[in-house]
Symmetry: C2
Subunit: 456 residues, 2 copies
Amino acid sequence: MKDDVRRMLEEGGIEEGDRVEVVGMMRRLTYEGEVSEEVKVEGILLPSTELNAPGNVVVKLKNGYNVSIKPTKVRLLEKGRGFKRAEVEGGEAGEGERVIILGTGGTIASFVEYSTGAVYPAITPSDFLRAYPELSRIARIEPKILFSILSEEITPAHWRRMAEAVKEAFEGGARGVVVAHGTDTMAYSSAALSFMLDGLPGPVVFVGSQRSSDRPSTDAALNVLSAVRLAASGRPGEVVAVMHGSTSDTFCLIHRGVRMRKMHTSRRDAFMSVSEPPLGIITGERIQLREDATPPGEGGVVVRTEMEEAVQLLQATPTLTPKVLDRVLEVSKGVVIAGTGLGHMRGELTERVKYWVEEGRAVVVASQCIFGRVNLNVYRTGRKLLEAGVIPASDMPPEVAYVKLMWVLGQTSDPEEVRGMMMRNLRGEISESSSPAGFGEEYYRWVERMGGGADG
Amino acid sequence: MKDDVRRMLEEGGIEEGDRVEVVGMMRRLTYEGEVSEEVKVEGILLPSTELNAPGNVVVKLKNGYNVSIKPTKVRLLEKGRGFKRAEVEGGEAGEGERVIILGTGGTIASFVEYSTGAVYPAITPSDFLRAYPELSRIARIEPKILFSILSEEITPAHWRRMAEAVKEAFEGGARGVVVAHGTDTMAYSSAALSFMLDGLPGPVVFVGSQRSSDRPSTDAALNVLSAVRLAASGRPGEVVAVMHGSTSDTFCLIHRGVRMRKMHTSRRDAFMSVSEPPLGIITGERIQLREDATPPGEGGVVVRTEMEEAVQLLQATPTLTPKVLDRVLEVSKGVVIAGTGLGHMRGELTERVKYWVEEGRAVVVASQCIFGRVNLNVYRTGRKLLEAGVIPASDMPPEVAYVKLMWVLGQTSDPEEVRGMMMRNLRGEISESSSPAGFGEEYYRWVERMGGGADG
């Protein structure tokens, strides 16, 4: 905190935790870039961290948002209705079930560098525990920083570290584990951890936010509180993500780690379950889970982290030529091709695929539609692909088929075992029949029936 | 028609156009393959074509579906409430505005080969005019077969032929043009024709079906009738598609050719407008268009069909390495990379992108989220990409950015002109601000407000 801000607070007899009125300038992100506007807000003054924008104060509004403001005037409204700074560095805080929060970076743990207006990943788990002190009433929290990188930089090596940290957390007595992760590649990581971990005795809950924690419109508060709530509940025994279910701040959806996708660049409700309804919904303190959610395992966690990295994901477009396919397959062990519709591609590609399958490459066919199910039995094109030896991805989203293929090729190099594992449902990534609520209007109606949705 | 079926009809004094009750076996597609089941239906006996499954009769049910049944019993219910066979071979039929139907193949013009259970493209436009005789009451129809291939086989050469046939059709006095096309690659073709054609004096309406016309659950009837209705209305002056808006047979949505995507492998409501609400909705005879639909042009059609085919679409995944990127860019003039989130990729890829831009390749960055808008100004990663010389795709879906890049590189090779054209809105593919109704629950609410949606 800058000296002039500190002085302003001291002169008013204001401490962290007091209810205050703040007048000042706030930066807001628009499509045209950052704009600065004058605001007057009421809320609880939050503890400052080294990483706050210098010269700013952070205020928690009644609706749960944290706002970062460069103050011109701070007025005391009420003393001490707030909280005490949680002392959590290197230890734990709070009451109830033990929940480990693994920090990996991303927007949920990011701050704005005011010199450039850009967003950097930096806030530590203990920083966001300070920002969301309500957490300590939900569970006994122990934050642990694994690394702090932008999520687009995450590679299989990071997945391994996450999987091992999850095992360690459960072996250390955690009821559940929260993984704070950037949203960009969260679905890749959640799929990877789903396959790497088996027999989970409690939930591994990915959580992120689309707007950083110190922005007025952050979705971090509701997401983090809901994720920790789910982790503390001890259910389900699988990898999931908890993210906003709508554009307002009213409820979160639980998505299965092998069934989710970031479907919008920037909206709070960007994440969707793919080809099935969400695994559950969290409205305030109420957690509802689908009946087929995986029960917690009673043996120990099994970790298998081997991944074949020479795997690529391609999309069958009108100009994906045999030559380009060759150039990719020459340096790959396997490839997932997102075909058109039910899983189709041009005949000349099918010919090349046949060659590469004979050369020992694993070729999986998914659909670029993303939603629905590959079916290679309906059209001649599909039958020829089956004859060429491709492995149909059934109703796995393309990215999940891709991560699964990396993992399967990490476990075995026997072509028949690869085929068998790819086509067998291992973690809920393949379903026998499709729910109408897995797409479109019916998806949102399902959410509404479960108590989420429409708010005005 | 097989002799025994013909005899059965003759003995009952039954002719095409009569209302009949048919008992027999019907094949139905399930995820487990084709199943055969006994059914009893009432409806109008349709004219048989050479391409009907031999030994089957085709009956139009009250709900508009055409059912193909291998009959064991046909009973006359009422004489001649039907229609006369439309004589359209090589000519035109019907009343009102002139509409050209261009046949290209696809499920909308397909039949089931009963020996294998597979679906083949074969029915000619005049065949489906016989199947949907209501068409002749909507417009003066002139069918023309351009080619008959599965839509996954469509390449830029086919786009050129379609564009030229559209120009010819308008110059021949058509009020609108319908393009019957497979759904798999319809969005690529509609984007290609959008860019190739300018100054359209009327609508170019892509139409397809997810189930073939002789299946009990075909969506072809409503789609074709609605598409011809829109074509005959003469509006809008742009390329669009007309497809089911819900899983029931109640209304169609109009999608802008540069804003649509097949989002589900098999549902009738598979097509969605991306990052904007649909361009319009057709409920029965009522056509509603958004206010910003392009008015018909008053000059002539301008056709520019040049396309650079050495363009690829890649997705930034955790294993897309500089080596793989190099192998693709070595044989490409340009590439669209579907980055993560707002348009991100790993730093090592950004370095390679910089090299390839300096080598003269056009590199466009879209988002693998599909919905939303690329914004390279928020995070450091994005700023570095901008410094490397990439062209942001704004809110174009990745496939549209890819088709546009092919077309732009076909018009100019000057890097600054390429950048300028890619970033300028040419056909509605880029919008300045995003509508909340372009994604999620709000999309379906918009449809409902327009009179579509919820039916029980």
